[in-house]
């Protein structure tokens, strides 16, 4: 078997690992500086504001084109989610009703295993 130190694939993988570590470490040092925070937050603040303004502008444009805006699409998605949630509730209720019908006379709620389990003693197979 080839020595790992001379295996080109192992060497490549090792080099990638070292490069990753080195770059992450270097970048983390750079990102720990107050200057980085200042620049990052200036750029981030400008970008967020610009995105917001662009979004508002786009919404007006879409309304003028008689097209649904993002807010309207989000609204539709929310209604769909709400319908899905109601369907899930109905499904859970049906599931419960089904189990109740199988439960013994006088029993109530979904039948569950008894809550009698004890932890296995030392050495016992789990």
């Amino acid at each position: 078997m080839a020595d790992k130190s001379n295996d080109p694939v192992a060497m490549w993988q090792n080099m990638m690992g070292e490069m990753e570590k080195g770059f992450n470490s270097f970048a983390n040092q750079a990102m720990a500086s107050p200057e980085f925070s200042k620049v990052m937050n200036q750029v981030g603040g400008v970008t967020a504001t610009a995105q917001k303004q662009f979004g508002d502008l786009m919404e007006k444009y879409l309304v003028s084109m008689n097209l649904p805006s993002r807010a309207q699409m989000v609204g539709m998605a929310e209604r769909l989610q709400s319908i899905e949630a109601q369907l899930n509730e109905i499904k859970a209720l049906l599931h419960q009703v089904h189990h109740n019908s199988l439960a013994p006379e006088g029993g109530h709620g979904t039948p569950r295993p008894p809550r009698t389990k004890r932890p296995p003693s030392e050495g016992e197979q789990k």
Binding site: M1, N6, F23
Partner: protein, 360 residues
């Protein structure tokens, strides 16, 4: 092996053949990768007990013949989806718990809607968690419960436990939970109060977009995404590697937005003023003092956690007022601690041996 050169010349043809075969496999599997969906995640059978805005409460159907008396409520981190704890059969924490006889509920989050931007820390700690606790009590018929919080879900669980120290929480388990936010050095620098205008951001965007959250996580290890893609290409012939890559990549990029006020609360109270560590934290006007927590507590931390470094998590055990308390440090990172093959061997059995005797 040739001792002088350290290279076995006779193995070179075999090695070339193997690499050529892998190169062919890469081409075939590479096409497959883009034409097939990833593995189905979070498929352990469950019932939805409640959905209310961003809050979802699930009950996983028990599989054991008998179960422990005390049910478990898992509180997921608000930035990510709960299926990290229920990846695929054989690599699912939920499945593991069910098979070991626990009754499992999960408080999971969906993306807050634009009108939910006003949700603050008090909505999560004083409304969502107590509401889920009540529902778990009602559904299980048991008054006591164990709470398990992952990452920021652990912070929410601690806040809940310190505000409601008289119960019904019977046991608390935290995974990689930060307490001392000064020690989250890079996040501290990203949110430096001199330069980070959190009010401006929240007031302009409402909910904090998931791209921003994902970007801040990825900036902690900026080279790792590119390297992981190179590793994927190298290992694309290996079905198990690809399956695992797809599972974790999908989860990692499936980041949730954060409700605006909640993000503002986290930034000001935790990142800037470190109130939880300093013992001055309040939620909705109620003091959240960790020393009030007296229940048995287990805190699992990861040796190589780049998101919540050990220095940020290590004070949890000393700060709580419990006498029955344990911290366990395991090999792995922030995610591999709780999910994947290593978790199956390390964290899950440890948790089972700790919790079993405390669940009767």
């Amino acid at each position: 092996m040739s001792a002088s050169a350290g290279l076995d010349l006779t193995s070179i043809p075999d090695r070339i053949q193997s690499e050529v075969q892998r190169a062919i496999q890469r081409s075939i599997k590479g096409v497959e990768y883009f034409s097939t969906p990833g593995p189905s995640l979070g498929s352990t059978p469950k019932d939805i007990l409640a959905t209310r805005g961003t809050m979802n409460l699930y009950h996983y159907r028990p599989v054991a013949d008998e179960i422990y008396r005390i049910p478990i409520l898992i509180v997921m981190a608000t930035t990510n989806r709960g299926y990290i704890l229920d990846m695929v059969p054989g690599q699912s924490f939920i499945e593991f718990l069910l098979k070991r006889g626990y009754d499992v509920y999960m408080l999971d989050w969906s993306a807050p809607k634009p009108e939910e931007k006003r949700l603050g820390m008090e909505d999560y700690v004083l409304d969502f968690i107590p509401d889920c606790v009540r529902r778990v009590q009602q559904d299980s018929g048991e008054q006591d419960l164990t709470v398990i919080g992952y990452c920021f879900g652990g912070v929410l669980s601690l806040l809940y436990g310190s505000i409601f120290p008289d119960g019904p929480m019977k046991n608390l388990i935290c995974f990689t939970t930060p307490i001392d936010f000064r020690e989250m050095k890079l996040f501290q620098n990203f949110s430096d109060r001199r330069y980070f205008d959190v009010d401006g951001l929240v007031d302009s965007v409402g909910n904090v977009p998931p791209e921003l959250i994902l970007q801040s996580f990825e900036m902690l290890r900026p080279a790792s995404r590119a390297v992981s893609q190179v590793q994927l290409w190298e290992n694309i012939w290996n079905d198990e590697f690809v399956k695992s890559y797809r599972m974790f990549d999908r989860w990692a990029t499936d980041t949730l937005p954060l409700a605006g006020e909640y993000f503002r609360d986290i930034t000001k109270n935790l990142m800037w003023d470190n109130k939880l560590f300093n013992g001055t934290m309040t939620v909705g006007g109620r003091a959240a003092d960790l020393s009030k927590i007296k229940v048995p507590i287990l805190h699992a931390v990861a040796e190589h956690d780049h998101i919540v470094p050990y220095d940020a998590a290590k004070h949890l055990i000393t700060k709580v007022g419990s006498t029955d308390k344990e911290e366990v440090m395991l090999k792995g990172g922030h995610v591999s601690l709780v999910a994947g093959p290593n978790a199956l061997r390390r964290l899950w059995p440890k948790l089972d041996s700790w919790l079993g005797g405390r669940s009767i």
